[in-house]
């Protein structure tokens, strides 16, 4: 959608306005995006808050012209997730959030020079490859703004001298990639978790600013590789809507079917990895047996197995394979049968039940405040499905049920995903026989230039709301292209979910949160 009414605020008005919005029911901060608007407007932040009852969105922005010491008041006391988002904006743009309790870098090394996302920064020249081990500080800085404009710094302690800190990761099989947790322990009990991110920070958002629009598409697949189809769908849809391209019904339906297949693929992988992490190797093999069937369908139609590169601006790369419908129709009953097998193999297992029921619960208030969308949010009873709340593609014409559960513990997070496989199968079943005729691709100009403006498009990927925020100045490459990571809020909530549980539960809780690290670090 086009964002033509972003409300501009002075930094001094920001907190008042945000508090007013929060009290009006805008309790979900979906985006907090750092921006560099150049010399005149300066550095700033774009906020998006959403009302979880009415699903109404409010967009605001604020900016400060001071490039030497840009200061913007924090909102981290209003929404928990702002804590992490503001650290990201600090890391990329050097914006200091006054009153934020933990103003550290989040993705880049602590000895990194400069702020890479600023338009005038030259990150590669200032930062040669450092082969020394990364220094990790045990304290952090809080800045407070004085009435005269100066800043007072205060040291906050992350880990004190009495804390027993264990490093889990970056090379650890249960962190699902290169994630690093610093865990403070009291015996076996977790007292605090400090996630260290950025081991797979690939600078995708900065790369986007130098790539043309068709080139940026290639990078979305590699963010959340288990939601490759969906994240690329989001970017394509965002650019299409910005340019006013109407894609045919055929494209909409095929995209929806493939999105759902991707979701099943991801949830099967979730099941397999969780079982593997908890010691059930056989279940891992069963999961992969079924996943290969989906990959066969992908391979036949799209050519790729994991990184699919199928959506493109204006439609699809190629028409669906003649076998596509037959294969999918064979797959639906096959998968329904095998889900029962999964439950028989693993869900009923006493060891699994004891290790997951009541472990790492998150309440509905917590998941909203942390912005944990997707299955993690729905397990706590938050109806956050973008497919229902802001329908896109062909989701408004299919009948499906948004699976919700109550307690928000590890077991619920696990069950949600298995139930969603069945829902996805229902969606596919409704559409697979009714793929309308039409063009598989609309004609586009060889050089794509998006008209000047600001655009946002969200989709429901396998693990939550994935958003594409695009600001264009009318050039052939974007001025700013930001992705709302689905996994970042999940990692932010790990501290809350794990406190008071045993260190062995970290594996279960992390596994059921279902995050993908390259998507977190971008």
């Amino acid at each position: 959608m086009t964002l033509d009414n972003i409300k501009t605020l002075e930094p001094s008005q920001l907190r008042e306005e945000m508090q007013a919005l929060k009290s009006k029911g805008f309790d979900y901060l979906s985006n907090l995006i750092g921006m560099d608007w150049g010399e005149e407007e300066g550095l700033g932040v774009v906020y998006c808050v959403e009302n979880t009852q009415t699903h109404e969105q409010a967009w605001l922005k604020t900016a400060t012209a001071d490039r030497e010491q840009p200061v913007i008041p924090t909102v981290s006391d209003l929404w928990d997730i702002a804590n992490i988002y503001e650290r990201e904006a600090y890391d990329f743009y050097g914006i200091i959030f006054a009153g934020h309790p933990d103003m550290r870098r989040i993705f880049l090394r602590e000895d990194w020079v400069g702020y890479p996302m600023r338009k005038d920064d030259k990150p590669a020249e200032q930062n040669p490859l450092r082969m020394t081990n990364e220094p990790l500080a045990d304290d952090t800085t809080e800045y407070t703004l004085q009435p005269d404009g100066s800043l007072i710094t205060k040291k906050n302690i992350i880990f004190g001298p009495d804390d027993y800190v264990v490093n889990i990761g970056p090379q650890h099989p249960s962190t699902h990639g290169v994630l690093h947790f610093r865990v403070a322990l009291d015996g076996e009990i977790i007292r605090k978790i400090d996630p260290v991110l950025g081991y797979i920070h690939r600078g995708v958002e900065k790369l986007n600013e130098s790539y043309t629009y068709p080139q940026t598409l290639a990078l979305t697949d590699r963010l959340d590789y288990l939601g490759a189809m969906q994240s690329r769908h989001a970017l394509c849809m965002c650019i299409e809507k910005a340019m006013g391209i109407e894609v045919s019904d055929r494209v909409q339906v095929v995209r929806t079917i493939l999105d759902e297949l991707q979701r099943i693929d991801s949830h099967i992988l979730f099941f397999s990895c969780l079982c593997q992490d908890m010691g059930a190797t056989t279940a891992f093999l069963y999961g992969f047996r079924d996943r290969e069937k989906i990959l066969d369908i992908f391979e036949e139609t799209c050519g790729g197995r994991l990184i699919i590169n199928y959506n493109t601006i204006g439609g699809l790369m190629a028409d669906i394979h003649p076998n596509f419908q037959k294969r999918v129709k064979e797959f639906i009953p096959y998968m329904r049968k095998n889900i029962k097998e999964y439950h028989a193999l693993f869900t009923g297992n006493v060891i699994f039940q004891n290790r997951s029921k009541g472990i790492g619960p998150l309440t509905k208030e917590q998941v909203i405040s942390f912005g944990c969308t997707g299955g993690t949010g729905r397990a706590a009873g938050w109806a956050n499905d973008v497919r229902k709340n802001h329908p896109y593609a062909a989701y408004d014409r299919v009948d499906f049920h948004q699976v919700l559960r109550e307690s928000g513990d590890s077991f619920d997070r696990y069950m949600i995903r298995l139930d969603e496989i069945l829902e996805s199968l229902n969606i596919i079943e409704q559409l697979i026989d009714n793929i309308p005729e039409g063009n598989y691709k609309e004609k586009t100009k060889p050089i794509i230039k998006v008209p000047e403006g600001t655009y946002y498009q969200a989709v429901e990927t396998s693990r939550g709301e994935f958003g594409v925020f695009l600001e264009s100045k009318g050039d052939k490459s974007p001025y700013r292209l930001h992705y709302r990571s689905t996994g970042l809020p999940l990692v932010a909530a790990m501290d809350t979910a794990c406190r008071g549980f045993k260190i062995a539960d970290l594996v279960t809780i992390g596994g059921t949160m279902d995050y993908i690290v390259p998507d977190i670090d971008r």
């Binding site: 290169v178 690939r202 990959l295 197995r305």
Partner: protein
């Protein structure tokens, strides 16, 4: 009498490997001085064992790791080649499959993992990112190929490589292991000079 070693992979004829030229060069280099008949026979036995039980380190940073999991699963079944014993500790691993992008923040960690592995050790660079930085090569935070920091034995191109290419790459590594002289060279690698 001196004997020159040659590798043979069961059920995969020599002609079907694509880059035998590079391999021949490697064979010449490794067999430069030849070796005693008895030592060679013993060598062959040990290398046969080593090449069929290469234990990989589970080291995956991004997308290629998922394909590695697919290779380990039933359809592609890496156990046919003896690579199924994936180790989580570098101390127990023989080969590190660098699957995925290595960022500059990760580079010291990778180097340390490599240093922790016991000799003889091998490195396979899996996927475009590990070979050259891949689609992210222009990024400020991505290492442009792992061979900048650790020596690489086999490169497996692809983004991500198909499971078949994984297996092909691993067979190439097996050929290399089979042609190495274990006694006198591989088992007595010189320590790296301290900087």
């Amino acid at each position: 009498m001196e004997v020159k070693k040659r590798a043979k992979i069961k059920s995969f004829p020599y002609e079907e490997f694509k880059d035998n030229e590079t391999y021949e060069k490697l064979v010449q280099e490794l067999n430069k001085n030849g070796a005693n008949v008895i030592v060679t026979q013993l060598d062959n036995l040990i290398d046969w064992g080593r090449s069929n039980s290469l234990w990989p380190l589970t080291f995956a940073t991004s997308c290629c790791g998922i394909e590695f999991m697919a290779v380990c699963a039933a359809r592609y079944d890496i156990a046919r080649f003896g690579f199924e014993v994936t180790r989580n500790s570098p101390r127990q691993a023989d080969v590190i499959l660098v699957s995925g992008t290595i960022t500059t923040k990760m580079a010291p960690v990778l180097k340390r993992l490599y240093d922790q592995m016991a000799d003889p050790k091998y490195v396979v660079a899996v996927g475009g990112c590990a070979i050259s930085g891949g689609p992210f090569t222009k990024s400020y935070h991505v290492l442009k190929g792992v061979d900048k920091i650790i020596p690489v034995d086999v490169y497996v191109p692809g983004c991500p490589p198909r499971p078949e290419s994984f297996l092909y790459g691993m067979m190439q590594l097996q050929r290399k292991v089979k042609v190495e002289q274990f006694f006198g060279t591989t088992n007595r690698k010189e320590k790296e000079p301290k900087e």
